[in-house]
């Protein structure tokens, strides 16, 4: 039944899949309904979302060394040259 309301445990068990948009449409509706009604779970879902976003932001703050593209180009030119010589 689509109108089934999840318990806190049911909702928390699905938290990761919810944040990753991996729930079925029925589960999604049930989780959202629970979170709307339950302040404690709503806080936890918000916290987890912020945690994921925070980690993701840090993960992406890795700077590509400026000369790496040139080094790769040189490597590939060398490889092309080697091929030409064969």
């Amino acid at each position: 039944m689509l109108l089934t309301i999840y318990s806190c445990n049911d909702a928390i068990k699905r938290l990761d899949d919810y944040l990753d948009r991996e729930l079925s449409s029925t589960e999604l509706v049930r989780v959202e309904r629970h979170v709307k009604l339950c302040q404690s779970c709503s806080k936890k879902f918000k916290f987890e979302k912020e945690t994921l976003d925070g980690i993701r932001a840090k993960f992406n703050r890795i700077i590509l060394p400026i000369d790496i593209y040139e080094r790769i180009e040189q490597l590939l030119e060398l490889e092309s040259g080697n091929k030409d010589n064969h």
């Binding site: 806080k43 987890e48 980690i55 993701r56 890795i62 490597l75 092309s80």
Partner: protein, 201 residues
């Protein structure tokens, strides 16, 4: 080996350039240091260039190249066989950061304690946290945190079943949260937030 036509080499370079930064970041998180990340990306670029003839234009170059980076990371890992000390998987409970930030009273004064803790952590500390994960978990987490991609796409890149991606990701996140929290405690980030929280009262 079949020679790449000049046009193909140009096409290859044009496809490679936009995915290089993400590939490097992924290699960095997988290997744990800059030098190895550079080597991994260069090796992957060379292998991809050699195998470019098998790439179907119009399909997803990024996923194709990521797969090569992952394979290179696997080979490197097998060569060095240096598995980090692994936290017992059952050690990390659900909602680890939530529970611990709440226990330390950080929810009372701060709207967004997770963001505050993470903001004060350096890139090196984040790197340390991901390095504490077993290699297989590290691969999945590196892809997951760098790209907003589905479990199925991660499964296709690493060539493992989607159920394995799900379980590694769920457990990997818990372990990562535990590791981040431990580092935040060790580096006095939690203590200073607690003091600020007290000062705000």
């Amino acid at each position: 080996m079949e020679m790449l036509a000049k046009g193909s080499a140009e096409t290859f370079n044009a496809l490679l350039e936009p995915v290089l930064a993400k590939s490097y970041a992924m290699a960095y998180h997988m290997s744990g240091n800059k030098e190895e990340a550079e080597d991994l990306v260069q090796e992957a670029a060379l292998l991809a260039f050699r195998g470019f003839g098998s790439f179907q234009l119009g399909t997803n170059f990024k996923a194709w190249f990521f797969r090569i980076v992952v394979n290179c990371a696997h080979s490197l890992h097998r060569k060095r066989q240096r598995e980090p000390k692994v936290t017992a998987l059952e050690d990390a409970e659900d909602l680890y950061l939530y529970t611990h930030t709440a226990k330390e009273g950080l929810h009372r004064k701060f709207d967004n304690p997770a963001e505050l803790v993470l903001d004060r952590m350096s890139i090196d500390q984040i790197k340390q946290a991901i390095e504490s994960l077993p290699f297989d978990y590290r691969l999945v987490c590196a892809l997951y945190f760098l790209e907003e991609i589905s479990y199925q796409e991660i499964a296709d890149i690493i060539d493992i079943p989607v159920g394995t991606v799900r379980s590694r990701l769920h457990r990997g996140r818990k372990l990562l949260q535990k590791s981040l929290w431990d580092l935040a405690v060790e580096n006095n980030i939690v203590q200073s937030l607690k003091e600020e929280s007290g000062a705000l009262r």
